[in-house]
Subunit: 119 residues, 10 copies
């Protein structure tokens, strides 16, 4: 499997740019690998954004997220990386990425990062 | 079955225009068709509004929503279209339409659009 | 059974008028009749208010609400009527009435009306 | 859309016929049409069976169930019809079909039919 | 409103008498009146049966159950009465009626009665 | 308050003795006192029985149960005592009493006692 | 049992007065008596406060709340009385008392009172 | 802290030996230590039994279970050991011990052991 | 990553062979790959067994299950394969494997296979 | 076991300091000892923070929290102590610590403390 690559993401034109509206996408089947232990991590990824000119196409987003399956990456980094790559692609009016990972050693972790455009 | 047509919608006069109040209508049985794959989509549609002079009659609303049953339409578009057509009909003080679709490929999507009148 | 009549409502003096506090009353057993179809409607009625000089006595409120049992009345109207009659009785500092009706034809409706005194 | 037709169903050979095991398939997105009122019905269809020589292929099952979308058929009949057609196809050791429909007029209905082979 | 009368019930012929199958009907909007206090009672009525030659038509069942709205009748009696009247109508292979009433004075009551034909 | 006394219990004649049916009564507001510590205990009491000739009247049952409010009595004993006193009163075909007490010191206890008549 | 008396309450010194923090105490086993009917009332009492110089000791608070067991007192009054007595004892930076009582006659009531110091 | 020792357990005489009844004790705060990793384990321990001549006193049971806090012991062994020690103490008519441990490495484990006397 | 191989599984001796007891292991983080589409599948795997002479060591079981991560395998086959390999390893008195997969195309599937030794 | 000591905590550099984002860590397996009674306390600890230059390493945090296992410490103090020690370690942009303890004597307590840097 190829490593995750934002170039697989496809966009389509926002047909309703005159209005601020939100698109929330929930993926409860996100999995990556802990770079320290080599053990798989599992979590629910939630992406919510207000589109400007472009929206992300859902099937390409699914393939992009699936490519993290064998990627060694820390919780904090994967959340910020996905936010960075989607912001670079879409230039959304705002975007929030939340990754809620299942417990390891009795401790569960959720990372939330937000992009707001300066007004 | 006829394609969805806002002309089936009926209204009745708001008897309490002196007060801002909200009417929230939840339809967990919304279904349309994906224009790309031809597969049916299923979701819960929630319409909440503060009426001005007119309210939408519920039985006609049900028939209007049922007519999307065999309509090929994207998530983002159906949400904005229903908001646009109800705003054109009712000129409400405010209205919010949320469409929460069931998972496809392990990913579920919710679109929320809001109309506020300028004050 | 007599039609609903606000004159059955009894009040008692608020013993703590020096402080704004809220009383929330939930009645999940509200029922009235649809004036169009003659079919019974069922819902949960929630009344929350900040008393000023008077509080409503709960047993008389129960009898007042029960009297809607055979009354033909629309969702929007019953919510506003109960708010109007309780505001006229109590002159509360604020009051909110919410009526959440069970599904009819796959669609459920909740009406919320708020009274705030001008300050 | 074509009416539902069992000939779209595909099978594959059971690789573990030496053991009784069960396959439970849940489709919460089943919809058909009431033949009396023309209104859509919605329900959750659950099919559980112990295969003998053949298993039903899941994608063809999905297409078979989707074809009821515009079919006028009563609750009791659709449950028994699906059971009959799958039994004719698979000759399973046992099979149960349950169809749990959403409320209409405040009443919800669940039909359960079971096929057991005589021993 | 007329008192409850089993003569409003309609039947249709069971199309699948060769097979034992069950029909479960849940009515969470059952209401009657306590004959002692005159206060309304509320409950969820569940009827489950295996038809023999006849099935009960759902809309007529709804009207039959609605007619208990202003009937003064005890918990134990209403459950057995509905079972008796449906058994007399349908001669089912088996039938169970459960009535789960909401709390009164901090106590809630559920009555369950079963009819089995001797074999 | 008087100590609990089965003589406050009232009965009424079972109108359906030709049929075995069950009456389940749930009281989530049972409270008594620990005889060792003097601290209040709280629990949910569930009484389920198949009546023979007599049923227990619900309001008198409520008063009987309320009288345990200031009674010092152990979990195991109160469950068996209520079963004994109701069996002596009603001679039911069968009866089960369950008392589920809330946690004390991180431990919660449920006692279940059953009376079956020899056949 | 003695009537409720704030003099049983004990305090201890707040070790972290440099910081605003909140202590929330939930007692789902609160019971008192309706002064009108003599029937017991049951509810969940929630006390949340930001301490200033003093905190309330939990065991003494438990004993104070238990003493309402046989006290005849209305919902609105008990909520405000507990708030008044705890504010007098602790002079907290802020305090909120919520009493959520179980249903009586199909109606449940929650009273919430807040104390904020003027700044 | 002393290691767990069944000698701290106290018993009292069963006052109702003429009847089979069950006592279920749930302790959601059980903790021990993994003998392999030295890491703490957490679980819910459920003990259900039908007493014969003796019942276990609850406070002594709590102290017995707390003593496992720093004990290195495997899941399978602790469940069987507690069952063995309680059976030796009480000679119950039957007893079941269930230990449901929280997830480690994404995997959670529940062990259930039952003692039945030969009849 | 190596393909799944039962040779990584380790066992330890059952210390309580005189008693039938059950060990239930739940892994909500099972993932494999659909051999037809190449898309990842996700499910909850539950293994319950009564050991005879040997128990499976949990950490080695985790590694064994993780190795299915990139394995192309059908639902029905993976369930039976895991059962076969664990039965070959442990010769348990009984074992049940359940694999509950998340929805694909609106349909979710659960496969359950049981091994019982002949007596 | 050693007493809790912040020196076991390890940090790593925040790779995304250009953005405010939050890391929430939930530990439902926190346990300490009541200094008054010597009895164990159990709770869920939640730590949420916005990192500045440093993040706390999760495995070292787990070991730090585990060391409270045999520490005698009050609810209010442990919450503030953990906040103080993590703030000293990380100098986060903001941090909130919540400790929700299980019921003792029918009363459960939650303490929440927040650190905000002056701006």
């Amino acid at each position: 499997m190829e490593p995750p690559n934002a170039s697989v993401l496809e966009v389509f034109e926002n047909q309703h740019p005159h209005r601020d509206y939100t698109i929330e996408i929930v993926c409860p089947e996100f999995t990556s690998v802990c770079p320290k232990t080599g053990q798989p991590d599992f979590g629910t990824l939630t992406i919510a954004y207000t589109p400007d000119v472009m929206c992300v196409e859902l099937k390409s987003l699914k393939l992009y997220l699936q490519a993290f399956r064998n990627e060694g990456i820390f919780y904090e980094h994967v959340t910020n990386r996905i936010l960075d790559e989607l912001v670079a692609l879409l230039s959304p009016r705002s975007m929030r990425v939340t990754a809620a990972f299942t417990p390891r050693g009795g401790i569960s972790t959720t990372v939330t990062a937000v992009h707001e455009i300066a007004r």
